[in-house]
Symmetry: C2
Subunit: 404 residues, 2 copies
């Protein structure tokens, strides 16, 4: 029997950060940068007006007061985006829009509300100091400076900076493309009619959602029956677009070992009884030309536990994240239960509280029953160590926060 | 001058939860349920084997011990998905796969590893109690029961439950469709060559990313020049697919009031000088047949502050969330600064710490400078109240956590 830690190590060893790919900015969103992005020019490239008003020489209006305004001749007007240089001669002003480049020899901008809004001449009512209301060239970025380092996630604020620096493309670790195959004769697509004995394919939809939440792209394949030829053909069809294949079900170690039998000739996949509950039978390895594959159980609760324990950390490693794991907090359980000996148990709980006052974890549903309804109402998984069989009210367990 | 609170109230009054729409399960992901979802049948619909093994009558193997196994005749085999009912006569067993419906009159499943794996007959080495390794009919959901209540967000665990309950479609508040228009003669698309005086359109890309992060769908329109006809045509073209329109820039209260002039005949949009920094000029109202529109400033830092303050809460209201706001924490600032009088200031800070030990907020870049590089390196906005002009090191400010 393999430990959880050993199986996780095998899963992480089977994958690695996807090779850098240069993509257009919108496709970089949510990805991890695979390069130190350098500024190719200063930002701003010139001194700019920081407000609407009049570009002046501060020395010309040194004596301006509300009761003694200084009047300057307005020699021109500059809108944002103006590209022709203007030179400011002493005693004059240029009407200027916020964001427009300052005329040469101007060193301050008087906000429009401190003037009489003049057209041919303008009366300035307050003095300015040099640099006032001016956005200095390169005050944001200097050419050659690192805009954002490799390893940074590209979110809205990072996109603002990359775009402002003029980058239309950046190198990122692309989103992993994950193919999901649910295996089982009993599976029916939700929304269709199920005969007694059939069950709806919860795993395909739930895994696709979880994989997307981790920032990966999912290709869900409809459920395939427990038939060797169909499963083999499905896998061969899908491999071309997969960075990772996930199968659920088809792993009974009694009768129908479809997944094991199909994968044996297609690649090198190792199956183990892993010391966890729910879970047990799990597979990891490669198929085709080295595409990683994880074989997960068929039970929907066991699948989400296996996703949290093995798949999500692997997806984050592929996407280039340094931090692979969810936040967890220690929480006192509100009720006790018996936990299987020699297996690490993951129990659906609802965690409340705060670090200041401490956390409490209430089991949702009976811990021994694998209820999907309890899974949906939980917000954390309490982790019971392998050697603990008797969990008592008040015991503190590490709880994995599922919405973190 | 309007307060931040007044402008936020106007923004929220201009929108509302989008009307419920029935969508297929994959399209419901990330949305808020607009109906109480009821179970249409029991889950499971029948008693099922919870493990691979042999379905038995517990009474038949009451005396089984490792040194005195009980032998039963194997009368059939049941795979998962089997739909034909089987009746178990006393003294017999049915080989059964995990997930298969129990034969009538069977009341327990003996795990395969507690037997000799027999085909025609099976030797059972341990006794069972009634119900052992059986997943009881309706133990997860009872027909008519509320599976998930309206107001719940559809994530991976909720999808598992909806799919398991057979729901192929659910009613949700759909994702808001947001059209984003950047206005300005000076704007150039990132990746193209910028002349001196031109600036790259950071707002379109950054807003599109922020809007997506909030779960909405974005239609970014390339930057349009500060020209009335082009802006009007762009708005008229885009209205048909918009639940909300956002404009950035074109709001100078000096010269080029393109946005104001274009919007005046198209709808009822009110422009105000809002008592905040960065920000100032902001608009809110409706265009066309009542599509809400928010006019935001042109500066990229001011745009992200306006997004956090007004747009994100409005998007969450449209998407049906009850909780509209990001988490915030009180944090002691590491350095002081002068803050404008009579305006609520939002300063880019990097927050560290924990609730237990307290939080610290270090300003990123000079608070008075609107640096995109500082925005990208910050993880929070410190909020300085309107009446505070002198922030000192050690003062505690509320900080909006931007990654929460």
């Amino acid at each position: 029997m393999r430990t959880v830690q050993e199986h996780l190590a095998a899963c992480l060893a089977a994958v690695g950060p996807l090779p850098p790919l240069e993509v257009v900015l919108p496709d970089a969103v949510g990805c991890i940068l695979a390069e130190d992005v350098l500024a190719t020019s200063d930002l701003p490239v010139a001194d700019l007006a920081a407000t609407d008003g009049y570009a002046v020489r501060a020395a010309d209006i040194a004596g301006a007061r509300p009761d003694a305004p200084v009047t300057l001749r307005v020699i021109d007007e500059l809108r944002a985006g103006a590209v022709d240089p203007i030179h400011l001669v002493p005693g004059t002003a240029v009407r200027i829009a916020s964001g427009a480049p300052l005329p040469t020899a101007a060193d301050a901008v008087v906000p429009i509300e401190q003037t009489d809004f003049g057209q041919a001449t303008v009366a300035v009512r307050t003095a300015s100091v040099e640099g006032e209301n001016v956005r200095r060239r390169a005050e944001d970025l200097r050419a050659g400076e690192v805009v954002l380092p490799a390893g940074e996630r590209v979110g809205a604020r990072q996109v603002a900076l990359l775009a402002a620096a003029g980058r239309g493309r950046v190198a990122v670790h692309p989103r992993p493309r994950v193919v999901i195959v649910s295996v089982g004769d009993e599976l029916v697509e939700p929304g269709r009619r199920a005969e007694p004995g059939q069950v709806y394919d919860a795993n395909g939809h739930a895994l696709a959602t979880a994989v997307q939440d981790a920032g990966a792209a999912t290709y869900r394949v409809a459920a395939v029956p427990d038939a060797r030829r169909e499963l083999r053909e499905t896998l061969e069809d899908q491999l071309v677009r997969a960075d990772l294949v996930l199968t659920t079900g088809g792993l009974s170690y009694g009768g129908n070992d479809t997944v094991k039998e199909v994968l044996a000739p297609l690649g090198t996949v190792r199956f183990d009884n892993v010391a966890m509950w729910p879970g047990r039978q799990l597979g990891v390895g490669h198929v085709g030309d080295g595409t990683p594959i994880f074989a997960l159980p068929g039970d929907p609760v066991a699948v989400q536990v296996a996703y949290e324990t093995f798949v999500r950390p692997a997806l984050r490693a592929m996407a280039g994240y340094a931090d692979l794991y969810r936040d967890s907090v220690p929480a006192a359980v509100t009720d006790g239960w018996y936990s299987p000996s020699g297996r690490r148990e993951f129990v659906r709980v609802h965690v409340t509280g705060s670090p200041a006052e401490g956390y409490r974890a209430a089991p949702v549903g009976a811990p021994a029953s694998l209820l999907v309804s309890a899974l949906a109402r939980s917000n954390a998984l309490a982790v019971v160590p392998e050697d603990v069989t008797d969990v008592r009210a008040g015991d503190r367990l590490h709880c994995l926060l599922l919405d973190s």
